[in-house]
Subunit: 196 residues, 2 copies
């Protein structure tokens, strides 16, 4: 396992390391998004990044560590969505922001990686809970809403995104992003604030 | 999907075969539910069923065939849900029936197998589309509802079920089945019929 000579703590990094590290993270995110956690080996990720698997382990330890780093490399800013000050518009804002992240090539791989991995990997499921549960609660505009309301709204939006981007459910794929937001916003709004 | 006896092609079946066949299907469903399509090999399924892998191939061909048969062994009756004659109650009936199938030990493995597999296997995603799209449209009480409305309602219910049973999202897990139905029914109703 520890075949790497300079495995002196992930500290002793030399100049040039950060480019290699980024290349590994990008390759990892791409593979996790396409194949899920179980389907992506450290070896395959190393090959995609053009490095030795030992280097991947040097930087990230095991696959869990690599997964966490790959997801974390994008998520910090991912859910910083200002929903505005109008509680009556929170449903639409949340639906637009969340489903919009699935349409965005910069953020979609993270969401795909989480969903494709969370269904079979407990570690990935844990991370998805964190993202949905902890982070979503801190989204501006949702801080006054009960956690179970936020969780139910997020769950339903997750289902719509999975139907559209993972399962490819025809009628959901056929709608434009705007139409989709239009259609689900009232239900999400009701879920968040109990308004009719 | 005719999983029944009249499958005379991969034949030469002798008396006693149907018990073996059922044992393979049960083992397959269990493994697909726990590990998903990618994580379940024909060899592992054969071992769980106590048979030779060659016998699995004899009955079902490849893994796709086995997956289809395992899902089909339960789904025919799965979605025969009478939603009643009251269109205003369709949202609640659908939510109760669908989420109830996830609570039911007899049907949950099929749903878990589909979800755990559909995120990484195109063949499984296809079957899930079939189950959601084609079969759900024929549920009594939904025949007059536009397919995109049914698909969006089903997607949101799928998201709730995944959050509860796969991801384990705390606030969604904490609710009872009845509370959950209570909370999502109005949004599903609005989605189905456009009512307030």
């Amino acid at each position: 396992m520890s075949t790497e000579t300079g495995r002196a703590r992930p500290s002793g990094r030399r100049p040039g390391d950060s480019g290699t590290r980024d290349a590994i993270l990008t390759a990892a995110l791409t593979l996790f998004a396409e194949r899920g956690y179980d389907g992506s080996s450290i070896r395959a990720i190393a090959t995609a990044a053009g490095v030795d698997p030992a280097l991947v382990r040097h930087f990230f330890g095991d696959k869990d560590g690599l997964f966490a780093a790959a997801i974390g490399s994008v998520t910090p800013g991912l859910l910083v969505v200002a929903l505005g000050d109008d509680p009556a518009a929170a449903g639409r804002s949340l639906a637009d922001a969340y489903l919009g992240m699935w349409e965005n090539p910069a953020t979609r791989p993270v969401l795909l990686a989480l969903v494709r991995s969370a269904t079979t990997s407990p570690a990935a499921a844990h991370m998805l809970r964190e993202v949905i549960g902890a982070k979503l609660r801190h989204v501006a505009g949702l801080d006054g809403v009960a956690p179970d309301r936020v969780a139910l709204a997020a769950s339903q939006l997750l289902g719509v995104a999975v139907a559209r981007h993972v399962i490819g459910l025809e009628p959901v794929v056929a709608l434009s992003h705007e139409e989709l937001v239009e259609r689900v916003a009232p239900g999400i709004q009701r879920c968040l604030t109990g308004d009719g």
